[in-house]
């Protein structure tokens, strides 16, 4: 005998874990409240540059220009501007300086002060050498590797200055801004020649921005259209990145508050990330040696008038390992972590969001930049650089 289900809904399908009744009113009021909340939050005028939140209000990010052209950027998307300035200055070769926020940040900034890159550029001009600087907040060595490979293809690099930061060996991941690096075939082919490069391409190249000649599906076309329409007509929609960032910032501060984490909290190495960044360092130096690019690596200046927030054994082991790698791969290596005296450092906003200030271990004042530029120039003079002929 064939069975047929009756037209009634089977009872077991109706046994849902949620109550069905009177929800419409709640949803309606929820929508209204949400709209009001989002509108209120969107209209708050404090725009935050999340990359520079860690700098705090006492520190300013300074990006120098020469004759209206950038010589220092924190965005890979502005690389073409750097290149344009280099071409107009008509110097035949350039140095490339890669680092983290220490390069672009000046603590206790005063009008007229400069950071290290324009100071060093002026000195290098005597050697007919330009200088272009790319620095990203918390940049890890894997990112520096990608930026270096990209820069090598686009610029006649003769010298590479590479700031090596122990803190940033805890970092991993490639920021979205660097996604354009994977779009260039020549660069990508160079990166794919080693295991690290293959891993980075596999993990991150799918996240690079789409090129303009790719055919989109109907879904993507309609989503892009809706997104554009909403962005053009809705303050709330435009503010979403800011709102998301602010929420994450509050979570970060809450975590710091709960676990009493601040600038002096000891940070340990994260083995997998440490090793990945060491591998990236080796790849940078090998690649530079193969391209006959002279390299000056340096352990970045740290505040040393108070105990630094690392396990001493790990930090010393790190410095030793970097020194060995640099020497083995033909780089000139400087350990200048004590270069900048304590009085040239400063403070930053509290990591817990409270009104107090904390010591800043990473960002020094303008005088510190001068010391850094002088030290690197001194080392550059020792390189076998072509001197200008009269």
């Amino acid at each position: 005998m064939l069975k047929r289900l009756s037209s009634k809904i089977p009872q077991y399908l109706k046994n849902t874990p949620y109550s069905e009744n009177n929800k419409l009113i709640s949803i309606f009021f929820g929508l209204i409240l949400s709209f009001i909340l989002l509108l209120f939050l969107s209209q708050k005028s404090d725009y935050i540059k999340f990359d520079e939140v860690a700098l705090g209000t006492d520190t300013k990010g300074y990006l120098a220009q020469i004759d209206g052209h950038s010589i220092h950027t924190t965005k890979m998307s502005e690389f073409s501007l750097l290149k344009r300035g280099f071409e107009l200055r008509k110097l035949k070769k350039t140095a490339l300086w890669l680092g983290n926020s220490q390069l672009h940040a000046i603590n206790q900034y005063k009008e007229g002060q400069e950071n290290a890159s324009p100071i060093l550029l002026k000195k290098l001009s005597a050697l007919q050498t330009d200088l272009l600087t790319l620095s990203f907040a918390n940049a890890n060595l894997q990112e520096h590797y990608l930026v270096f490979e990209y820069s090598k293809v686009h610029l006649p690099i003769k010298i590479l200055y590479l700031g090596i930061v122990f803190d940033d060996f805890r970092e991993t991941g490639i920021r979205a801004d660097l996604g354009l690096i994977f779009q260039e075939e020549e660069v990508k082919n160079n990166i794919l020649k080693n295991a690290l490069g293959r891993q980075l391409v596999k993990a991150y190249s799918s996240k690079s921005p789409k090129q303009t000649n790719i055919i989109y599906t109907h879904q993507e076309v309609s989503e892009n259209y809706l997104n554009k329409l909403l962005k053009g007509n809705s303050l709330i929609w435009r503010s979403r990145d800011q709102l998301q960032g602010k929420f994450k910032l509050q979570l970060y501060r809450a975590r710091n508050n709960i676990f009493q984490i601040d600038a002096t909290t000891t940070r340990k190495i994260i083995p997998s990330r440490y090793r990945a960044n060491m591998t990236a360092l080796k790849e940078i130096l090998s690649s530079a040696a193969a391209s006959k690019i002279q390299v000056i690596t340096y352990i970045v200046p740290l505040r040393h008038d108070v105990a630094y927030p690392y396990l001493k054994s790990q930090y010393l082991s790190f410095k030793k390992e970097v020194d060995e790698i640099a020497r083995a791969l033909g780089a000139r290596h400087l350990d200048i972590d004590q270069l900048v005296p304590g009085k040239y450092w400063g403070v930053k906003n509290s990591t817990t969001g409270s009104k107090g200030k904390e010591l800043d271990f990473m960002h020094f004042q303008a005088k510190g930049h001068q010391l850094l530029a002088n030290e690197l120039y001194k080392e550059t003079r020792a390189l076998n650089i072509e001197k200008p002929t009269l």
């Binding site: 874990p17 009744n21 949803i27 409240l33 949400s34 090793r275």
Partner: protein, 452 residues
């Protein structure tokens, strides 16, 4: 209208794959009619096998051909036979694993006499292509849905309310929770596994377990909610799976529609036991001596259904062994007090099920076994290799799971006794959830189960 809307929905992704889906629909429509009309059992079987062959053939071509070809080439090279690289470029049609199983279950149900074939082609086609569940389930049974499509209910505001609630909740699980966990999990799995300890492996297994739960259950919530807004009742697909007290209980709570399907159309026929005709989850014990072999074969199929890779086979067999182990342990555990059986069961089952996600997510068998090997090395229990935040996130999610269950079991029923309080509390809840959904909504992250 439902059929046209479903075709438009599917075509928004790739219109060129509509013919594949329609071919599957047509074949099973006619096959079912023939099975019903012919009198001889042998001829019924021929039509059934024809339907199965064509459907499984399509699935094999799109999903498994390259995998099989690659393995044949590898085997050949081991035997000294060199072959060129595979130049096939086959794109997997979205949802093929789901709608193929649906059409197969329909013809089998007609063959078994559970249901008469649907005479109206549009109704049947609407059942298969119904857009809320088309790309990632729940896997529907004809007996549950076709009558609802035939006898359309009257409009009810309670259906709209229920549906909207589920959609909002599903969106929150996906865009806020699952998509936030995604980068953390991706980063953890992309690092050098050899530097991880056992606790790290367990932690990232937990994180992926939560990511896939949020992602997949989100889709199910949205599917159930969308269908409900049209007055169609779908079976539930998840029921707090991480509060399962045994592997068997887990599969009554996780992807319920699929585990039911596998039980009724693969496992029970292999054991010779009577099937069920509804999606209520779990695998029955079976009564024959073949149940162990049936279990292993069923789980191998279940694993490979998820993906054409050896890691998915390992995942399936992991769960088979979990259930076999449970059957053995159950004999000794029955004498323990109920509370210990229940809570102790959760304590043991949860990490075991989470570790089961490792082959599901690992890039290769080598990575998978390397990760499992950590648990057999005493030294690896004393090193931690992840960023501190990651342990915090995993711990927070674990506690939240228990908290959410408490809220559902105790707080919500208490709240529902007072209408005004219920409306006020729920309004704030929806306000927060909707706010986060708006802030976090991004178009870039597909649902994980779209790849199956």
């Amino acid at each position: 209208m439902i059929f046209i809307a479903s075709l438009a929905f599917y075509g928004f992704w790739r219109v060129e794959f509509l013919p594949v889906m329609l071919a599957s629909v047509l074949i099973d429509y006619f096959a079912a009619q023939k099975i019903f009309l012919v009198k001889e059992q042998a001829k019924k079987k021929i039509w059934l096998y024809l339907s199965l062959t064509i459907n499984l053939g399509l699935l094999f071509y799109f999903k498994y051909l390259i995998f099989v070809a690659e393995n044949i080439i590898s085997l050949g090279s081991l035997l000294g036979i060199e072959a060129g690289p595979i130049l096939l470029n086959i794109v997997l049609p979205l949802g093929i694993s789901f709608y193929t199983f649906q059409t197969i279950s329909y013809t089998i149900d007609v063959y078994r006499g559970v249901i008469e074939p649907e005479k109206d082609f549009l109704t049947y086609a609407s059942f298969v292509t119904f857009f809320p569940q088309l790309v990632a389930g729940p896997v529907l049974r004809a007996i549950e849905v076709i009558p609802q499509l035939t006898n359309r209910p009257k409009f009810q505001w309670s259906n709209i309310a229920f549906g909207l609630q589920r959609i909002i909740f599903g969106l929150f699980l996906k865009v806020v929770l699952a998509d936030s966990l995604g980068p953390i999990v991706d980063d953890a799995f992309s690092q050098n596994i050899s530097s991880y300890g056992a606790i790290d492996i367990l932690t990232i297994a937990f994180l992926f377990g939560f990511q896939i739960y949020f992602d997949f259950s989100a889709y199910s919530h949205i599917a159930i909610g969308t269908a409900r807004m049209m007055g169609i009742y779908f079976p539930e697909n998840f029921n707090f799976p991480y509060l399962a007290c045994s592997p068997k209980d887990f599969w009554k709570r996780w992807h319920i529609s699929l585990s039911s399907w596998i039980r009724d159309y693969v496992y029970l026929p292999l054991t010779g036991t009577k099937f069920h005709d509804r999606s209520i989850g779990g695998l029955a014990s079976g009564t024959t001596d073949n149940k162990v072999k049936a279990l292993l074969l069923t789980w191998a199929i279940m694993g490979l259904w998820h993906g054409a890779a050896w890691t998915f086979l390992v995942w399936g067999l992991y769960h088979a062994f979990a259930i076999l182990t449970y059957r053995v342990v159950l004999k000794f555990g029955r004498s323990l007090p109920q509370a210990i059986q229940y809570y102790g069961g959760i304590l043991v089952t949860l990490p075991f099920m989470m570790l089961g996600w490792i082959p599901f997510r690992a890039e290769s068998l080598e990575t998978c076994f390397l990760m499992y090997s950590k648990f057999f090395s005493p030294a690896s229990y004393f090193s931690l290799g992840l960023r501190e935040n990651i342990y915090l996130v995993a711990a927070f999610l674990l506690l939240s799971t228990f908290f959410a269950r408490l809220v559902q079991k105790i707080f919500v029923p208490w709240l529902n006794k007072n209408k005004i309080l219920s409306i006020i509390t729920e309004s704030f809840f929806f306000a927060v959830v909707i706010t986060f959904c708006v802030i976090y909504l991004r178009s870039s992250n597909q649902f994980i189960y779209f790849q199956f």
